[in-house]
């Protein structure tokens, strides 16, 4: 009798720990996703300043600024995560293109305010990439918990589903070509 009770207690304890581990890793994923949002917001706040300074020097590049304004408006109205990510990727690409074009404007390149903004931009870009990598690591840990035995049994019962990792967009993998950006 005592033995059966002992086994039951061990099993129950195991079940509680496994379940808590699943919940913990799911919360980590959500937290990591939240961090990406924070970083994107930071970059988003930087955008108008960057455009404002660049605009005064780059009078002949109105195309690129129209495109940025358009993307910014679209990002504001985006509802789904996928859509948001796609637009953010495009913003990244466009700004990379802008940075390439800056090479043709020595006055702008020498402008202290612009240099600082450029540095801040690089920083947020790298922070976003770090946040994405952290998110992917959290998703991998969560997916492992969902797939591995014995926690997969609980995952099935309590409806924990696998999550997708961030895949770097094709445009980000390629080197930026200013020409291609202006033609698009």
């Amino acid at each position: 009798m005592l033995l059966i009770a002992g086994i039951a207690v061990v099993l129950l304890l195991g079940a509680v720990l496994t379940y808590n581990n699943l919940v913990g890793s799911r919360n980590n994923v959500e937290n990591a996703f939240g961090t990406i949002d924070v970083m994107l917001k930071k970059r988003y706040d930087l955008l108008p300043n960057l455009v404002e300074v660049a605009k005064t020097y780059m009078k002949h590049e109105s195309d690129i600024f129209t495109r940025i304004a358009e993307l910014r408006a679209r990002a504001q109205s985006a509802t789904t995560t996928d859509e948001k990510v796609a637009i953010e990727n495009q913003i990244s690409g466009t700004i990379k293109g802008l940075m390439v074009t800056v090479e043709n404007y020595p006055d702008l390149k020498a402008n202290d305010q612009f240099t600082m903004l450029q540095r801040s931009w690089n920083e947020t870009e790298e922070q976003i990439s770090a946040a994405r990598r952290a998110y992917n690591a959290a998703v991998t840990a969560y997916n492992n918990a969902v797939d591995k035995f014995p926690s997969n049994i609980f995952a099935g019962i309590f409806n924990f589903r696998r999550k997708e990792v961030f895949v770097i967009a094709e445009t980000e993998r390629q080197n930026v070509s200013a020409k291609a950006l202006f033609n698009s």
């Binding site: 990591a32 961090t35 970083m39 600082m116 450029q118 540095r119 801040s120 690089n122 920083e123 790298e126 922070q127 990439s129 770090a130 946040a131 990598r133 952290a134 992917n136 690591a137 959290a138 991998t140 840990a141």
Partner: protein
């Protein structure tokens, strides 16, 4: 070949006057050497090593070392040292990056009456100004448990490490094989350890071909490179000072440390930190 008459002469001398004069001469020589060797060592270091250091834009102080507070600040080693020793401090700026490094040897003692000294760290302790802003603490330590127990069991032991902040699993498999990473912030650790920097740290480890531990704290990167030799030791009193092989070795030792800035790309200042 020692001539026979000389051997016979010596034997006759010892038989006649005994061993005492020889012992006396040896003791005399010992004190003579001690008396002259120290000033020689000092002037050798302040002149020759300092010149070699200057050639690479560094200042040299043979009596100074990385301070105990900086060593503690790095938090690379958790054991509190009972003995702290170091010398051969080099400081300077390489490009935009301020660096300083010295030889260090830290030990702790165990046992009651029969004290035994154990080395915590012996080698080069290197501190450089890091090129990105951060507020948390990140540690890149040699992966002892994963090497000993394999990735699954080793990973389990890594998680159990109570003295360190949370474990950080990075995506670079090769990097993970060599190092265990701990940090106070998952995102910040990845911001510091970009894929490029991970590769660069691996190259650094290969270059020194020894145990390397790093920490990123308070806008600095601390690097502890284990080396089991004394750096910049002056030659024997009666040898020549223009031993090129030895000078070349000193030069290489300094150059390798200066090269860390290049290896870790610390002069790239494209972020807000200038």
């Amino acid at each position: 070949m020692v001539p026979l008459h000389l051997v016979l002469g010596c034997c006759y001398f010892f038989l006649k006057v005994g061993i005492w004069p020889l012992l006396l001469a040896a003791v005399g020589f010992f004190f003579f050497y001690q008396y002259h060797a120290k000033p020689f060592r000092n002037s050798y270091k302040t002149q020759i090593i300092a010149t070699l250091a200057q050639a690479q834009g560094l200042q040299y102080n043979h009596q100074a070392c990385i301070s105990r507070s900086e060593y503690d600040q790095s938090q690379i080693f958790v054991t509190t040292p009972d003995r702290y020793w170091g010398d051969d401090m080099l400081t300077g700026t390489v490009g935009k990056t301020g660096i300083r490094f010295s030889e260090l040897h830290t030990q702790y003692k165990s046992g009651g009456k029969n004290k035994t000294w154990h080395t915590i760290f012996r080698g080069i302790f290197f501190i450089a100004d890091f090129n990105k802003h951060f507020i948390g603490e990140t540690f890149v330590l040699p992966d002892v448990s994963e090497n000993a127990f394999g990735s699954t069991l080793g990973g389990f032991f890594q998680k159990l490490n109570m003295v360190r902040p949370q474990l950080i699993k990075l995506e670079d498999v090769e990097f993970e094989k060599h190092f265990a990473i701990y940090g106070t912030d998952q995102v910040e650790a990845r911001y510091i350890l970009s894929p490029a920097l991970m590769q660069r740290i691996l190259t650094l480890k290969q270059k020194f071909n020894t145990k390397v531990a790093l920490s990123f704290i308070g806008s600095h990167v601390y690097i502890a490179i284990t080396i089991n030799k004394t750096l910049f030791e002056a030659p024997w009193l009666f040898s020549t000072v223009d031993n090129y092989k030895q000078l070349e070795e000193f030069h290489t030792d300094i150059a390798m440390c200066v090269e860390i800035v290049e290896l870790l790309d610390l002069n790239t200042r494209i972020w807000t930190k200038e």
